[in-house]
């Protein structure tokens, strides 16, 4: 009895910490969607790209801070370029066009590493050791603890930013209604760029953390597939929703892997969140915290 309880507890806590790490990646998606209405199906590939930059910077003796800085810099510049070159010409076109453009971008990014820097798996070694950190009966790998800390830190920063700072309020105005924001003297294009820069930063840290946990190769981009259940559960344009959605997905897949895998032969981890997501889409398509959009003809 006690053992079973402890098993469930371990699964839950590990799921919660992984879930927060999913939330970190999902934040990138939500920020962009909230501010610019653009959809990024290449979020996983963003994380992969950041992982590659960090791994190469570490191998080039830049140090950990240097690697993180390099990843952030590259991702911010890359996001700017993406917004300018690909997404701006697609403004006003059907949403399918944006989805397909980012799917195409994802394919490009997955193809690039093997023909430029080599496709072998690289390590991102962070100076936090790998002795598990104990919390009572539960122990977590230090990477996961770092992931939790970084996500919570970003959550605090974004909450402050959107509620208190002038730029954050302006960005909310842009998200709410671009034309009115423009009429109020807000430079909408600048805030689009800012949103992408923030998404790039989040992806960069996601890349460093996930890269150090899973190793950096093309497979790292698969982590992006988890973004969709997270954002659908939470609501596409809600930052709080991304975090709560992340926690739910993390716990569900951890429990599914712990309890169902022995019976069905593995793989429920990737399957369960999507079933949950389908149910959510059928009954409450805008998620727990998403804004309802009323369509007028």
């Amino acid at each position: 009895m006690w053992d079973e309880l402890q098993f469930a507890l371990i699964l839950t806590v590990s799921g919660l910490s992984i879930g927060l790490m999913y939330a970190l990646i999902a934040l990138g998606f939500v920020l962009v969607y909230k501010a610019t209405d653009a959809i990024n199906f290449a979020q996983g590939e963003f994380v992969m790209l950041a992982g590659f930059v960090a791994a190469i910077a570490l191998a080039g003796k830049l140090g950990v801070l240097g690697a993180v800085a390099a990843a952030v810099l590259v991702m911010v510049l890359f996001s700017f370029a993406l917004e300018r070159v690909v997404l701006r010409p697609l403004l006003g076109r059907p949403i399918v066009a944006v989805i397909m453009a980012t799917i195409g971008l994802g394919a490009m990014l997955r193809g690039l590493p093997p023909i430029t820097v080599g496709g072998e798996t690289r390590a991102v070694t962070l100076p936090i050791g790998d002795t598990p950190i104990e919390f009572g009966p539960i122990s977590l790998p230090p990477v996961q603890v770092l992931g939790v800390v970084v996500t919570l830190l970003f959550l605090a920063i974004f909450t402050w930013f959107f509620l208190k700072s002038r730029m954050g309020v302006a960005m909310r105005a842009v998200a709410d209604n671009q034309q009115v924001a423009m009429a109020m003297g807000i430079n909408v294009e600048r805030y689009f760029a800012l949103a992408w820069a923030m998404a790039g930063t989040v992806s960069a840290l996601g890349g460093v953390i996930w890269g150090s946990m899973l190793g950096v190769d093309v497979q790292l981009s698969l982590v992006g597939l988890k973004v969709f259940p997270v954002v659908i559960l939470g609501g596409l344009d809600s930052i709080v929703g991304a975090v709560i959605g992340g926690l739910i997905v993390g716990v569900v897949e951890s429990l599914a892997a712990g309890y169902l895998d022995p019976y069905v032969g593995g793989g429920t981890k990737d399957f369960a969140p999507y079933v949950l997501m389908i149910l959510m889409l059928m009954f409450k398509p805008y998620g727990m915290f998403g804004t309802h959009r009323i369509e007028r003809v």
Binding site: V96, A107, P114, I278
Partner: protein, 355 residues
């Protein structure tokens, strides 16, 4: 298609909708039929016919996806899963019950249509991004179920070996024989699509694509037509999966993973959304791309890589080119190859007296 018109002389709606816009069109179509049915199989050997066969299979799938995405405006990122449904249905029927292809093929298509309509149910409430994500979930869930149900997937490797189809007691062994088999279905699929999109159903699809709420207001039952679109499109996908299974001689879920869904989306975007000719051009383009790429790059790359690394590099190169082309066509020429073809035709319509 190839002929030149000297102007527009249509005076009735029926004339505008005709499959043969001009009397000469019959001659053009006859020439195309002759080219495909007689000239191509005589000119090309087995290797090239095998490639053309792949194109013919892709044409069926691309036509189906274009009905859904290009004509009805409902995105599906899970089309490869519908193909796998068709493939495994046909493979199980063919192997366990020993049924011939003319039963397994429609059965595979119908099963895919049923599953496709079920996956399409969320489209009644959601659209755009939400629908893309829902169909993505459909892809992953169907893939997982097939892979984890030995009764469907046939055991450990999740693959079922299927004998080549038989016609009048003869088994098709060569690519040449398969060519005629596949050509028949590709032509049938093209003809059916041409007729679907100019019928009442096709008009309803286009109305839903352009503005679904407005379509509902003018009396189109959008629930019925959205599901119908998913079903028709998945039927094509299922048939495409069955044909591919007969072509390969094996049903294997690895042939129908998400990358394939994206390949088919690439076909209709590069070819042209909402265009039958575009689907065909896109299918040809996307199927030939890796083959041509390999042909061109192998001599150069063999100087730097061994053969194992080379195939990895070429497939990565293909991904990059692919993604680049999707973005290029979306940004620069959203109507795809079909539009380019029309531009060329319009240029030559009055050539050489363009004023």
């Amino acid at each position: 298609m190839l002929h030149r018109e000297s102007g527009v002389f249509k005076t009735s709606y029926a004339a505008d909708m005709a499959l043969y816009p001009l009397p000469i069109a019959r001659a053009t179509i006859a020439a195309i039929v002759l080219l495909f049915a007689v000239v191509l199989p005589l000119v090309f050997d087995e290797y090239y016919l095998a490639i053309i066969n792949l194109v013919l299979i892709a044409v069926v799938g691309a036509l189906g996806l274009n009905i859904l995405v290009g004509y009805t405006g409902q995105i599906s990122v899970g089309h490869a899963a519908f193909m796998s449904v068709g493939a495994y249905t046909a493979a199980n029927l063919a192997v366990k019950l020993g049924l011939p292809f003319w039963i397994t093929l429609p059965a595979g298509g119908l099963m895919a249509a049923l599953i496709g309509a079920i996956v399409g149910i969320p489209s009644l409430r959601i659209k755009g991004l939400y629908l893309a994500i829902a169909t993505l979930a459909g892809q992953l869930i169907i893939e997982w179920i097939i892979n984890h149900t030995p009764a469907i997937s046939g055991g450990a490797q999740a693959s079922i070996e299927v004998p080549r189809p038989e016609l009048f007691g003869h088994q098709m062994r060569t690519q040449g024989q398969l060519y005629f088999f596949l050509l028949f279905f590709a032509a049938l699929a093209t003809l059916a699509s041409l007729n679907i999109v100019r019928s009442r159903i096709g008009r309803a699809f286009v109305a839903i694509r352009d503005q679904d709420i407005a379509a509902e207001i003018i009396g189109i039952n959008i629930y019925r037509y959205k599901l119908l679109s998913f079903a028709i499109s998945s039927f094509y996908a299922g048939v495409c999966g069955v044909l591919y299974t007969y072509y390969l001689g094996i049903a294997n879920y690895e042939q129908f993973q998400i990358g394939v869904s994206i390949d088919y989306l690439a076909m209709i975007i590069i070819g042209g959304l909402g265009s039958i000719l575009g689907s065909i051009l896109g299918a040809i383009f996307v199927t030939m791309l890796p083959i041509v790429l390999r042909l061109l790059m192998e001599p150069v790359l063999s100087m730097f890589y061994n053969s194992g690394e080379m195939s990895a590099v070429i497939s990565s190169f293909r991904l990059v080119l692919f993604g680049g082309l999707i973005i290029f066509f979306l940004v620069i020429e959203p109507e795809g190859l079909n539009r380019l073809w029309r531009n060329i035709r319009n240029y030559f319509r009055v050539w050489p007296f363009s004023y």
